[in-house]
Symmetry: C2
Subunit: 364 residues, 2 copies
């Protein structure tokens, strides 16, 4: 299989996304993006044993020194304490302004490493090597980095773009089923917000994706990254259209925060959260009950939960009130105008929202 390359167009901060098989062995793809022949590879205790040795060998063979920084695994560690483990290691080993940080792992590792790169000595170069489907189709692209705060997910962070995204599809072979499904939630999202043909392709090919058919995965990743790259290039700091990428995320973050970080995977929160957004879209007269059922079916086939926990209206409203999309005290939701077209709604009637939160949720 050939490697495919996309570009995120951001002027002098543009960068390539390489998608293919065996890319962890390709020092030639990494070398042009290093500031010096010294990097720190940030990974976790799950991914490290699988791929850290291989990436290190690739770099060493090209004369690049690699400092390993191995963090505990899980959303619950996406916090300041873990971030500080990175800073401690960098300072102890005298990492410099031109030392590149490489994130080897999923979304949590990418977010932590990106924020560390944005903040260490006020900014050092940064490369994403995503090893989960979710990271390959979404979180490794676009420069959103950060950590959670007890009061809200991703509340502390930076927009900080990587120099390179290296998505080795082969790493998905070791991905647990539950994580594969979580990644598919974000893949389906692209279809729902802006790409009806892709949504139809997903309906036709979900079984191949679940079976990890390599060609199907490569196509889904490329098409997802194309959408992401376009939206990021048009609106890097989410002043407008980029917000569409948050379909299901306002509800989803409330689920993640409300249940305790790590109990629901991010993609699971997005799936169930998208069903709430779909329900609210239906109540607002945008889409039909049949449309809602169609979305529900696709998420279920992807192995995802489609019923959000009933945390109570107050818990949802409190968690959502600190969402980054809140403006002048008004919550804003990404809803569906129709299948394949999302929009940002600042005017969702409180009564309909209340109905959604009560009637469309299930037991915790």
């Amino acid at each position: 299989m050939n490697m495919q390359t996309l570009t995120v167009e951001l002027g002098d901060r543009s960068y390539p996304i390489h998608i293919g098989v065996g890319l962890l062995d390709r020092a030639d793809l990494i070398l042009p993006h290093l500031g010096q022949r010294r990097v720190a590879i940030v990974t976790n205790t799950t991914v490290g044993p699988l791929y850290l040795g291989r990436l290190t060998a690739t770099l060493n063979s090209a004369g690049v020194e690699a400092l390993p920084i191995v963090l505990p695994d899980g959303e619950v560690y996406k916090n300041w304490e873990t971030l500080n483990l990175i800073f401690d290691a960098l300072l102890s080993h005298r990492a410099e302004r031109k030392t590149t940080l490489i994130a080897l792992g999923g979304g949590v590792i990418g977010d932590l490493t990106g924020f560390a790169a944005a903040s260490y000595q006020r900014g050092v170069p940064f490369i994403q090597v995503p090893t989960t489907l979710l990271a390959q189709v979404d979180s490794s692209v676009g420069g959103k980095t950060g950590i959670n705060h007890p009061q809200g997910k991703n509340m502390i962070g930076a927009f900080y773009q990587p120099r390179l995204v290296l998505a080795d599809i082969e790493t998905l072979n070791t991905l647990p089923e539950r994580e594969l499904s979580a990644g598919l939630a974000e893949v389906i999202k692209y279809g729902l917000i802006r790409d009806l043909p892709f949504l139809e392709w997903l309906e036709a090919n979900m079984d191949r994706l679940i079976a990890r058919d390599r060609a199907a995965l490569a196509y889904a990743i490329r098409r997802s990254c194309e959408s992401k790259a376009e939206l990021v290039a048009a609106d890097e700091r989410e002043a407008g259209s980029r917000a569409l990428l948050n379909l299901g995320h306002t509800f989803g973050h409330a689920i993640e925060t409300g249940m305790g970080y790590g109990v629901w995977l991010h993609g699971e929160g997005v799936s169930a959260g998208t069903m709430l957004a779909a329900d609210l879209s239906r109540r607002m007269g945008n889409i039909s009950q049949a449309d809602v059922a169609r979305i529900d079916r696709l998420f279920k086939r992807a192995g995802l939960p489609t019923v959000a926990p009933n945390l109570g209206i107050e818990a949802y409203l409190n968690h959502m009130a600190v969402d980054k999309k809140v403006e002048a005290g008004r919550m804003r939701f990404v809803l569906l105008r129709k299948l394949g077209e999302g929009y940002v709604a600042a005017d969702a009637p409180a009564e309909l929202l209340r109905q959604t939160l009560i009637e469309a949720t299930g037991p915790v």
Copy 2:
């Protein structure tokens, strides 16, 4: 006295610096820069009682709601724990992406607030209202923000520009003498690195500055800010010429870190650190012993220490090895080619550095 206005030219991120008397009462200067009629004012337990009420009244009278966030005072609090107090308050009060953070205080408050603004929800608007001479002539301008790490000063942070700098000279009336002197260290720096006529003006007018002559202070602040604005506009992220602003800072940071944060004021470290840089410049044959004595005299007249503590060579080298100017393991120093002309030296001979650290330092 009229207000004077300079501009830091950074394209669509350009911003004004207003310098004058009574600016804390001028809502008209602040309003155009707010994203919404809601701000958080970050200050400390020393400055708060003096000026928080006045700035709050100014804003309230213009219909702007102001959340006060009062932090403990001192360099020792420039760390993650204090930064988190800002995040906690912002989240508890549901500050949004368009809520502006206003830093009311000296360099520590400005650095903490700026980094909080850079990181809260991945970036909110930010205004500097510096109330110390050091902050008015240096740290409030240019977008360097951050916190200290036990292993190194300012190691964690962001380049993040304010929307406005409002320097009310009147606030210097309440500044302790020691802090006034600390600010003068940075003022003298501009003369040394790029402005011999200003250095001569300082020699002629140091007594007026120490006596807080308002016109003399206004001139010194304006001339300092002009230099700072020029250097920042030419090299925002310190890839080159901006590094000149760090004259005395590599040594100075080692003094601050080595003695324990807060024992030496930043400006005191810069003064004694500059004398080490001057000594090294002399040993390298750039300037004469008479030049060194002339610098020494001016710092002394400003009420500043000119002898760095003898921490031992190892302590200095260890602290300086994590300096942000280190590249490929080589320390880089800002030295003097002559009075009024600084340069970045990557080639200071280790033996001369050793002599400086031993022979030009005094008891701890």
